[in-house]
């Protein structure tokens, strides 16, 4: 069969798969960015040991555990603690002084995946002496990823990279003081988790659930198409108090989004913004 026809077939099957999932489970992935979605679906085929997307669809429709795995595989993002140290450095230098003026600080980490970046902010807040005033809401689509995030357990093999990032993000303590380790894993200190609530939230379909002083949504909307991205930006905007802080990924921009003019860039190089209107 000609290569071109096979390619169209894959697109047809993806469209049918997403439609089936929406109808069966109510999860709507139809506005996810097509290229990265396609890539992930191919990998899921290999993991599930099926040869075609139609087979995957059949399995997903009939097996809720297969569906759960699918959701997790779409939601997972491989990140590290203090990913983009310059971002956390800017957060320390620009955002922390602003937060000091509030008696009570609510933060939302939207799309927290396995939690590394949530704990990174927790450490920054702790080192600034602000943690006790904070409540961090960390949400994600996947219950499995949330369970992992909640546990605060990470592979010990990653700690060297995390330590390196932490230091470059302006950390001055001994990073190993933040976790205990066995031969395989590092377990983050319980007191870092005390004010974090991990819960399920679907950025596609769920609405605003509170008003926040800080919202971090970093490298999440890269997986959404422009229509969904703009819709999520509205949700984030509506969930952010006046003068609230929005943090995006290093290569994500507010440019050409509908709410662009509602923010000023606090630190443009790292995409930290403050809501002005």
């Amino acid at each position: 069969m000609p290569e071109e026809i096979k390619e169209d077939l894959e697109l047809i099957e993806i469209e049918l798969l997403l439609s089936a999932i929406t109808r069966r489970y109510g999860y709507d992935f139809r506005n996810y960015a097509p290229a990265s979605l396609r890539r992930r679906i191919r990998r899921i085929l290999a993991r599930e040991g099926v040869g075609t997307i139609s087979e995957l669809q059949s399995r997903i429709l009939r097996d809720p555990y297969c569906m759960q795995r699918f959701v997790t595989n779409l939601a997972v993002s491989v990140t590290s603690m203090f990913r983009d140290p310059v971002f956390y450095l800017a957060f320390r230098q620009q955002v922390v002084p602003l937060l000091r003026t509030y008696p009570f600080i609510r933060l939302w980490h939207a799309g927290c995946s396995t939690g590394e970046e949530v704990y990174s902010i927790a450490i920054v807040l702790h080192e600034a002496g602000l943690y006790d005033r904070c409540r961090i809401y960390a949400t994600d689509l996947s219950d499995e990823l949330l369970d992992r995030a909640r546990s605060g357990i990470y592979s010990l093999s990653h700690m060297r990279e995390f330590t390196h990032n932490y230091l470059r993000a302006g950390g001055e303590n001994d990073f190993s003081s933040y976790y205990t380790a066995d031969h395989k894993n590092a377990i983050l200190r319980a007191d870092l988790r005390r004010h974090i609530v991990f819960s399920q939230h679907n950025l596609v379909s769920d609405g605003s659930f509170n008003e926040f002083h800080v919202i971090l949504c970093r490298n999440v909307m890269i997986y959404f198409d422009m229509v969904l991205r703009d819709r999520v930006h509205r949700l984030l905007y509506e969930s952010l108090g006046m003068f609230g802080i929005l943090g995006l990924g290093l290569k994500e921009s507010l440019r050409y989004t509908p709410h662009e003019t509602c923010y000023e860039a606090l630190e443009p190089a790292v995409h930290l913004y403050r809501r002005l209107r």
Binding site: A33, A35, D84, N165, I222, G249, K251
Partner: protein
Amino acid sequence: MMSSVEMVVIGASLGGLDALEELLSGLPADFPPPTAIAQHRRPDDSSRLVQLLASHCALPVLEPEDKDPIEPGHVYLAPPDYHLLIDGGRWSLSTEGRVSYARPSIDVLFESAADAFGARMIAVVLTGSNADGALGIQAIKQRGGIAIVQDPRTALSPVAPQAVLDSSTADYILPLGEISALLVKLCRKRVPAPVRNRLS
């Protein structure tokens, strides 16, 4: 007659900086297609690579942000700690796990380009220290695109070009100094169509 080339993708790792500088310096200011480069980079790589390459190139060189439009006659460098993909005429970034220990990975860019442009593209593999790029070339060849490989005997690190040659049939195997002239020749034939692909 050969179809219009709508995208040129280039992959490099070890030795890539010098190789890319030489290649880019051979591209004229009216080089029609967009060019995308996946060069292995550390996550905390500073932005100086863009400046270094830009200083050797008549075309604008930049690191795209997510969803930036793909423009003809521009050179795009995959940013550190992201994979670069193509989505309906725009750049798309991903933070999936490293592929061949790399993020940005050459295979990820090449495979996405193959999906988007089919036969209407050229891929170039330069010096590099692992096989990242070999699978991407396979995907491109499967869809009828053109594969150019730097002659391993002239590469600082022959591993990457050799890995491609071990698993695919390249259309051209050339010393570095001849690659940009070939690109100019292959891309010159027609007025380029606007960037389009099956995902739009």
